[in-house]
């Protein structure tokens, strides 16, 4: 059994996890915060991405749009991570063995790499194209990729609770590929 799975099993036995899982309102409040923070996090990020693609605020310098809006995006991101971590904490095993959750985490890392690469390459030379109504191709690609990542993240996140309709580690047999992707623990059966 993998270390991560054992860690999730242990997390699920902690009193905080059980309390959140069994709570009447707290879990739903955390979930609602997570969903509504989309407006702040993805909303402001999307405006920045659209500016990078040259699709909005063309007369405003790119660096101005970024410095004025990214603090709000960062605040949204913080709320997302905290509420998201709590949602994971409420049902660690269920999330760990959820294909959509796993895909969402991979996508999140890829989205992070996209942002990191942008800040360390294209954005380094922003002074050259700061005023351009339509930024250079590399910046447009980063903005477009980011928008695609948000779309994929939202879809995968929405799908997380629907996994049980299609596959579930606790209902075997499942196709081998599903067991591998979901990390189902089949060797004890």
């Amino acid at each position: 059994m993998s270390l991560l799975l054992r860690l999730c099993e242990w997390l699920a036995t902690t009193s905080g996890s059980i309390a959140l899982h069994e709570s009447r309102y707290m879990y739903l409040i955390v979930l609602s915060v997570h969903v509504l923070t989309l407006c702040l996090f993805v909303g402001t990020a999307a405006i920045v991405d659209l500016r990078l693609m040259g699709l909005t605020m063309q007369s405003v310098r790119v660096s101005e749009v970024m410095t004025r809006l990214l603090p709000w995006t960062a605040a949204g991101f913080l709320l997302m991570i905290i509420s998201g971590a709590l949602l994971f904490y409420a049902a660690p095993l269920l999330r760990y063995q959820n294909i959509f959750f796993r895909a969402k985490m991979v996508t999140l890392v890829l989205a992070g790499v996209n942002v990191w690469v942008f800040h360390n390459t294209v954005y380094r030379r922003v002074a050259v194209w700061d005023q351009d109504p339509v930024p250079p191709r590399s910046a447009r690609v980063v903005g477009g990729l980011a928008l695609v990542f948000w779309v994929v993240l939202i879809t995968l996140g929405r799908m997380i609770p629907y996994q049980v309709y299609w596959f579930d580690c606790n209902r075997q047999p499942q196709p081998a590929i599903v067991n591998v992707l979901a990390g189902c623990n089949t060797d004890s059966r």
Binding site: L38, T44, I154
Partner: protein
Amino acid sequence: MSLFEFCERVQYSPLLSAMRSSSWVFPLIASIHLMGLALIGGALLVVDLRLLGLGLRHQPVAQVARDAERWLLVSLLVLLPTGLLQFMCFAATKYYYLTAFWVKMAALSLALVFTFVVRRKVAMAEETRMNPVWSKLVALVSLSLWSTVAIAGRLIGLP
């Protein structure tokens, strides 16, 4: 035909029955609705923050409002059809009975009128003629109305 009969007729129409029988369609529509939620959040926030003297505060309000309006319309074009489809899927057995849904519809009507009539006028007005307290009030009303829409919408989805 009563409102309830209308909801029933919509929900049990062949197209909607077919949609309900698929386990993928509903969550996919809900996902697209959430993408619209994110976008409308951005399009509204940039203007309301600017009216509050935050965010893009070195740009003229009118310019921020004009730039954001296109994306506000795009987000509504995403939200309204996907919202309508979700309503149609369970019009008679769920939405008809849900107070949160009717609160959302009322708040949405108010928010749309306020945004495209009052806020638009204030945002496009010449800044020198605008009392900053008035601008801030408009931003706060806009944020409250749209928050009501969003929170009531979230309540619809709760078990």
